[in-house]
């Protein structure tokens, strides 16, 4: 029996085996089940069946309101942001060829945070009100993420190429500079700005509305499609620079495009959901254990797992200390950092 199936439509080409398809299907079912469960849990409990009815607007008015207006946008954003961060991390791990790379480690998240705090500091007046609509905030943090990504890329470039180690080191160094800038702006600004920025930096999904969902969805969708076109080039990257060049890839150009895609995905997620840490690190790892490292299967499975992680983190964040809300990013870090250390331990002899 032929294990792998090849998908090829013009430029798009990837291998996927039947086991992976089964896993993708399984996780899709799981994530839908979790979404329905999560929609029902909270200060007002709604039974799963009523949740399903409420999604289609045929439950009681109260159920419809809670499910459709309050919980649904938030849960969708959790899934989308998680998926975007996970794919971003999967790409980075492919390029850098280090299992420990992720958008937070190379400073993309820090860049987005700085831009957000700058936005809050510049556009708020003495009485703590914003002079510009809050809807521009995501744009600011997206610009921050991309600017940081480009800066890291160009500083890490030397003799026309980027060495992965240099990319990581420069990312860590620049993060420190940008974090200093962020702290300074928080200190000089009013306390309202400080606490609002602090919540955002840690990553919170509180107060999401439908406008955000309709803004982020096309964004992530378009990027994902481009990403799948590039999936096979990502496969080549995994072999390392020499082999990839021999195989006929334009390694440096592909690296640039892939890095840009990764930054754009992370930037989009961070713009709406804040700096939810370690998802971009964990999800691709778990996915790799399940389906191996061919990106045709790895990317969708990573995305699904990323969505599940953020969904669960947000569920804990809004229920554990109710009525107080803890940023979901705290929980992903609490799981993610020990996981990172475990990975470091496992790869100690490589």
């Amino acid at each position: 029996m032929k294990k792998n199936k090849a998908f090829r439509i013009g430029n798009i080409s990837f291998l996927i085996d039947s086991k992976s398809l089964l896993i993708i299907f399984g996780f899709t079912v799981l994530i839908i089940a979790l979404m329905i469960a999560s929609l029902g849990i909270g200060q007002m409990q709604v039974s799963p069946w009523n949740v399903v009815k409420a999604i289609f607007g045929s439950s009681t008015d109260m159920d419809n309101l809670v499910v459709q207006s309050f919980r649904m946008p938030r849960i969708l954003l959790a899934v989308l942001a998680g998926a975007a961060l996970a794919m971003s991390g999967a790409i980075l791990q492919g390029i850098i060829r280090n299992p420990l790379a992720s958008p937070d480690i190379i400073g993309i998240t820090a860049g987005a945070s700085a831009a957000t705090v700058a936005f809050l500091a510049v556009f708020s007046d003495r009485s703590n009100t914003l002079t510009l609509s809050i809807h521009w905030l995501p744009l600011a943090s997206f610009i921050g993420a991309v600017a940081m990504g480009l800066l890291v890329y160009f500083l890490a470039r030397k003799n026309g190429g980027i060495a992965p180690i240099r990319l990581v080191l420069i990312g860590v160094g620049l993060s420190a500079a940008v974090e200093a800038l962020t702290t300074m702006m928080m200190l000089l600004g009013p306390i309202y700005t400080a606490s609002r920025a602090n919540i955002w930096i840690t990553g919170s999904l509180n107060g999401t509305n439908w406008t955000e969902i309709t803004t982020i969805t096309p964004w992530i969708l378009v990027l994902t499609i481009i990403l799948f076109v590039f999936a096979r080039r990502l496969n080549i990257q995994e072999f390392g620079e020499d082999l990839a060049t021999n195989a006929g890839g334009n390694v440096q150009k592909d690296r640039f495009i892939l890095l840009f895609l990764s930054t754009a995905l992370a930037g989009g997620a961070v713009a709406f959901a804040g700096g939810i840490g370690f998802v971009g690190l964990m999800a691709p790892h778990i996915a790799r254990r399940l389906v191996g490292s061919s990106f045709g299967a790895l990317l969708p499975v990573s995305a699904l797992i990323g969505g599940i992680i953020v969904l669960l983190a947000d569920l804990v964040a809004r229920t554990a200390f109710a009525p107080l809300e803890v940023p979901a990013g705290v929980f992903t870090s609490v799981i993610g950092a020990p996981y990172f250390i475990y990975l470091l331990f496992k790869s100690r002899n490589k």
Binding site: L169, A176, A180, M184, S195, A337, I341
Partner: protein, 332 residues
């Protein structure tokens, strides 16, 4: 640069004179105008005037703290670089700052700690714990402590501690207000009392660091070579680690996280006096004090009448340097 022992000795002397001049400058310069005469009078004929109070309660502690913290961080950095053979090693990279910040916020949030003295001890503990964890994580495996593993371990610990800190701060805004300034790193608004609490540890660290210079020289030739020459490398590393925790932990406890001094200064010292750690360590101390004093004076003027936290200043000085070293290649 400097070849003979005499010129190195002279250089150290000149450096110390510059430190003294900068301490004087740090006392005199600032938003409130102060003359040297007033400084003298505030010691001998204290009259309770605004200027005298500012001199005694603000300017002098600030200048002395900047000196002690700058010197300690730089010495800690040079020992770390010598022990790990990693040109990017520094207290900040080891997650020391984030660990200290985390412990202080836990103290405020859960145990309602208010005394500055307890803050100091919490910061000290956090710094030590974080440094130990990062060292252990970074040196796992057959190839020992590699720069990349250490950097990643430090970044992970920093990310963990700072997100936990931020989580607690969102639940407790009062703590945010109290801690934010400390978290940014500053030598301003600290009592001389805090310095006095920590000073004994710093002094022990300083003295011990002068003794260990010779051993670090041997160790920096490579672990195998050092073992071949009959050195008990484990002991040297352990001893060096204790010094680093004393100096870096103490500095963070006083001033909060002030980054990059520990990374930048040893390089300048090495450029001046070569690879002999018996000279690098004292030069690092003097140069670290000079850098932090200057950064602190600059921090007052940049956005007068407000002040930039000095930790932000040093980050802006240090990051271009960090990138330069990372680009040049860490193994050269």
């Amino acid at each position: 640069m400097m070849k003979t022992n005499v010129s190195k000795m002279l250089g150290l002397l000149v450096g110390s004179l510059i430190v003294i001049c900068l301490i004087w400058a740090s006392i005199v310069l600032g938003l409130t105008k102060v003359t040297t005469q007033m400084v003298m009078d505030s010691f001998y004929h204290f009259d309770g005037s605004n200027e005298h109070i500012i001199i005694q309660d603000t300017r002098i502690p600030r200048a002395l703290i900047a000196t002690a913290v700058g010197a300690s961080l730089a010495i800690a950095g040079s020992i770390m670089q010598g022990l790990t053979n990693n040109p990017l090693a520094s207290p900040g990279l080891f997650g020391v700052n984030a660990g200290a910040g985390f412990f202080v916020v836990v103290g405020i949030s859960f145990f309602s700690v208010t005394s500055l003295n307890t803050f100091t001890w919490l910061a000290f503990t956090g710094a030590a714990i974080s440094a130990i964890i990062v060292y252990v994580l970074g040196s796992m495996g057959r190839d020992g402590l590699t720069p990349i593993k250490m950097t990643l371990a430090g970044a992970a610990m920093a990310a963990l501690f700072s997100s936990l800190t931020q989580g607690m701060l969102t639940l407790n805004e009062r703590a945010l207000d109290q801690v934010l300034f400390w978290l940014a790193g500053s030598v301003q608004g600290r009592d001389l009392e805090i310095l006095m609490n920590v000073l004994p540890y710093l002094i022990i660290g300083w003295i011990a660091s002068f003794i260990i210079g010779r051993q670090i020289n041997v160790l920096s030739m490579g672990e195998d070579m050092a073992k071949g020459l009959g050195q008990r490398t484990i002991l040297v590393k352990l001893f060096g680690g204790v010094i680093v925790v004393l100096l870096a932990g103490g500095a963070v406890a006083i001033a909060g996280p002030i980054g990059f001094i520990g990374m930048v200064i040893p390089h300048i010292a090495r450029w001046l006096v070569g690879i002999d750690y018996r000279w690098i360590i004292p030069y690092s101390g003097v140069l670290g004090a000079i850098l932090l004093l200057m950064a602190d004076i600059g921090a007052r003027y940049l956005i007068m009448p407000a002040e930039v936290p000095v930790g932000v200043m040093t980050a802006f000085i240090g990051v271009p340097f960090f990138i330069y070293i990372a680009r040049r290649g860490i193994n050269e």
